[in-house]
Subunit: 626 residues, 2 copies
């Protein structure tokens, strides 16, 4: 039953050699690797405006809206410049890590264990948040056009997360092709939005308000701190730039060259889309609305809410949701791979190391789903509540990568090392500053959670590694030691009555072991019943005539397993636990409901003896004929 | 941890010989055995009036209220007569079953398997409902004086059920003494209520309305059918009369005599209390109210709602709740004992047979709690919704007992057999009629559920018995068969690497078994990794120089357990499953979180092999030094 359902949902198991080796070019790479970055324009402007709008009270001071929008445009320009600088920094990483290097690998190799682990921690936080934020923003985007989803956002979030989990459990190779059109449709939609906005602006001129010093004062309390908070929120548009540098080997040769070209295309596209979304909002005076994201507001305004225009509005909504869902998908590919790498280095549990049935890291995928669902439910699927956690971790990861590159280029001193070092150095400085801005300005809004979690995670990873190292030492075999000779051992066969199952076990014990003793623990509601049971048993035992000694114990507490454990404990004190073997007869029933009808004494006994007493336990199954 | 908590809640385990043997007299017997019967007067009149009140529309025809109340008084008289007849019938049972005989035992012995099983089914339904109804009525009783409970009845029901479960898990012997005062306080309260009502009635005369033919017509549609429905609801006052006949051996000698005398006391007390509750309601024109039971209404009216009178009102409420809770307790003693008896006869799973740590049937107590909580939640703790299910089952049980007695007295023909037969025959006729009345008049209100469930339960009991019989035959050992000689066997030792744990298992296998083969299943993410793992393993194996052959298998699906199972399946086809022994090395870690860090390959493998393949599996634990 369970197997059939699994087959249906996930597909048949795949062999290791069925792993795909298809390499990709820039066009497909754009579709597969960039949604994480591109999709962030769907919420970045909203998040900037959210901070600014909080300054002017609802309803009051409508005249300052244009000042606010002007600030968000300023923020957008600064972030675009930052994006271009990041491009140069990451070109460098691609050059030095042609086999793909995430912040974890760079940190671990070039900076040391704790840098690597801290980068891994923030990467994990980032990946988890990518799932939660992207899906929440995707549901926000489709909400205005599908009221049913709009009214049940939390449930829609959970369902979409589970769907994406299932798609990933089936394996990514076959699903990657599906994603190609959506990315381009999304880019096309935003470009169309931009062109329409410009055309309309020319036909009905609007004035873009440059914030003046007067305006600054007017927007009460707009200081550097608030500007930085806004900037920090806007930087969410830069998340996901790293994805390309992690996946260099996936490209056709020359792979580094193609990866760099893709990175450039990405940065330019990202900048253009971001400018369009922010610019259109500013031109038309659109402001943050918790229910309708700016992209939806813009498309409703420019294309209308009925007729042909509405169809385009719907396409914009749907493609936005799709690209956000694909962005969440990126995390489902990246995070389990990171965990597998960490498990290989001994920092994560071993069950995250291997690929599952469908050649994907199934355990990691399920684990990630659990964490991000917890986040989604904990934060009620509110994008703006999740942002502060996101920013700190993303920029910390960036800066570790860049610092690693600085160290590496200085160490290796290859061609143009100074030039490269300066590039990475600038990248480090910028991302470190961004990280600090996030950490300080959004500290109370949730960034503290990341700052608390990361050291705890590092501690956990170190503990795990320490445990595995200890186990390895403890289990290390000393080859100089000769194989142990035979020892003086005792073999116990617990029996309840003389029946085919217990005799089967007894015969087996006699054939293979010396010093066999049968033990029967009698647990009855009264002493009379117990005495009667013992009489019958002894009589049957005599008839069996096996030559084996039978020890009968009355359990005063009516528990067979505990009494037998005590017998092993006390009455066999002249044996070491490792010299005791317990042979447990078990009869195997066929249907599940039959299992409900039998005391689990055998199984309970085995678990107790193995875990509690380190005694050797042998299960001798006897399969019932029907 | 779990053990400490259990000790705290339940107490230390008790030895079988610590079982109490104290016998009781009539006074203590009254306190312990009658609450089930006596407590039903707390809701019986309400349930009669509920049916009658439904005839006259809310607000309309106030003048017919007195007619309605007159009818309920008529019903009360008839039920009191029925109670006296039941007394004579049960006297008989006590005489014939001095060792205690419930309907199940009587049905099984005197009438045959299916009579016994049907009686057991209705008894179980009855016990379960006793818990649900008594606790719901108890919460209703305390509700008017403790608003917090009144507003959260369902939660209060669940909490009280769990408390009673815990008390019972601790064991009844020590708690029985606690109950003694409550029963007498309750009886005292109701008597006081009656005396006060009579005194008040004499001081301010009230007229009791005898329903006339005109009145009958006036109460629209009051026909025989509705009268019977009312009567059926009122009969709930008779439930629990059986308890005494089940517990004859508990009394001091002469036990049958004392039991009979207790039964008489019970029937008289029950009748008086029932007449007081119904009579007071009629005299003062009190009618059914879903929120305030009649007893509470009466005490509020007679003693007042403030000052000293209110204290008495509160005492009435609390003692009513207590006696109802004690009534639920009766079921917790009776039902698990019934299940144990049924388990002994093979009709119920064996885990219900034995007493637990505290010398009570712990499994049965927990099982009963689950069922009655399901009923409580399913019926939203509404007494009136549960009543129809109750009545049918209680009267069916009564009539099986009486029919069994008729058969037995006719068969045995002891002294005065004819006289006794007629007594039991009348009892059978009356209870069978009452059962039919319930079944027909309340069929659509829930009695159908009992009528559907009972045959299903009988089917289930028969199936269980059939299974146990089959198992017993299948396992029956043929003593004429000689003990089996040695067979040609193979022993597999699955190893992951050469370490202390696997070598420990290998040494053990070599010391005890012939034909030992080591097997290693390699599951890696890629073919290269797998090849490397194999090379290292083979090198280590050669160094070990054990003389044992090592078979290395590459798992194409990256699952060790499944691949090993297939190896056992396919590649060892020249062996029977019972000739294969798998020796599984297991290392035991100390803290719980370490367990999370290791693949459960060993444990999974063992479960798969034992259950799936009937292969013998030997666990060789290796305890890590730290």
């Amino acid at each position: 039953m369970a197997t059939t359902l699994k087959r249906l949902l996930i597909g048949r198991p795949l062999k290791t050699r069925e792993m795909g080796h298809a390499k990709i070019g820039v066009i497909k790479g754009m579709a597969v690797m960039t949604p994480d970055a591109l999709s962030s324009v769907a919420y970045a402007t909203d998040q900037m405006e959210l901070i600014l709008m909080s300054l002017i009270g609802a309803g009051s001071a409508k005249e300052y809206v244009s000042d606010v929008l002007g600030f968000s445009m300023m923020g957008t320009f600064i972030i675009v410049v930052l994006a271009l600088l990041l491009f140069f920094a990451y070109r460098n990483i691609i050059y030095h890590y042609p086999l793909g290097g995430g912040a974890y690998a760079i940190g671990l190799n070039d900076l040391g264990k704790y840098w690597g682990l801290s980068a891994a921690s923030t990467l994990i936080v980032g990946y988890t948040l990518t799932v939660a934020v992207s899906i929440a923003a995707g549901i926000d985007a489709i909400g205005p056009v599908v009221p049913l989803i709009g009214h049940h956002k939390l449930i829609a979030n959970i369902v979409l997360t589970l769907i994406i989990m299932l798609i990933n459990l089936r394996g990514t190779s076959e699903s990657a092709n599906v994603f190609v059109p959506f990315t381009y449709i999304f880019i096309g939609c935003i470009l169309l939005l931009g062109v329409t906005a410009v055309v309309k602006a020319i036909m009905h001129p609007v004035s873009i308000h440059i914030p003046s010093v007067a305006g600054m004062h007017a927007v009460q309390g707009m200081g550097l701190f608030l500007f930085l908070r806004m900037f920090a929120n806007g930087c969410s548009a830069l998340t996901g730039v790293e994805a390309v540098s992690n996946s260099v080997p996936v490209f056709k040769d020359p792979s580094a060259f193609r990866a760099q070209r893709l990175l450039l295309t990405l940065v330019i596209t990202l900048s253009v889309l971001f400018l369009i979304v922010s610019g259109t909002a500013v031109m038309h005076g659109l402001t943050y609305n918790a229910d309708i994201p700016l992209i939806n507001q813009e498309s409703m305004l420019l294309f209308g809410t009925h007729g042909f225009g509405y169809i385009i509005t719907v396409i914009v909504s749907v493609s936005t949701m799709c690209i956000l869902a694909i962005a969440a998908n990126t995390a489902f590919t990246g995070c389990p791979a990171l965990w597998s790498a960490m498990a290989r280095d001994g920092f994560m549990p071993r069950w995250l190391l291997h690929k599952g049935d469908r050649l994907v890291y199934s355990n990691g995928i399920v684990f990630l789903t659990f964490i991000s669902l917890a986040l989604t439910i904990g934060f009620h699927a509110q994008v703006s509540d999740l942002m502060p956690l996101y920013g700190v971790s993303v920029f910390y990861t960036f800066s570790v990568s860049q610092l690693g590159m600085v160290v590496r280029t200085v160490k290796e001193r290859q061609r143009k090392w100074l030039y490269r070092t300066i590039g990475s150095g600038c990248g480090f400085a910028l991302t470190a500053i961004a990280c600090l801005i996030f950490g300080i300005t959004r500290f109370t809004s949730g960034a503290w959670l990341v700052i608390v979690c990361v050291p705890l995670m590092i501690l956990m990873f170190s503990k795990i590694q320490h445990h595995y190292q200890q186990i390895r030492e403890d289990l290390k075999y000393d080859f100089s030691r000769p194989l142990q000779p035979d020892r003086h051992t005792i073999t116990l066969v617990p029996i309840a009555s003389v029946n085919k199952s217990s005799v089967h076990a007894l015969e087996y014990a006699l054939a293979n072991f010396k010093n066999v003793v049968a033990v029967s623990v009698i647990a009855q509601n009264s002493q009379e019943e117990a005495d009667e049971t013992e009489r019958v048993l002894r009589e049957q035992w005599a008839r069996l005539n096996s030559g084996v000694r039978l020890v009968v114990i009355h359990s005063q507490y009516r528990s067979v397993a505990r009494r037998l454990q005590r017998f092993v404990d006390l009455e066999l004190d002249r044996y070491e636990p490792e010299d005791i073997t317990v042979v447990v007869p078990q009869f195997i029933t066929k249907s599940w409901w039959h299992k409900l009808l039998h005391n689990k004494t055998g199984s309970v006994l085995m678990a107790w003896l193995i875990l509690g007493k380190s005694v050797k336990v042998l299960a001798v199954p006897y399969r019932l004929p029907r």
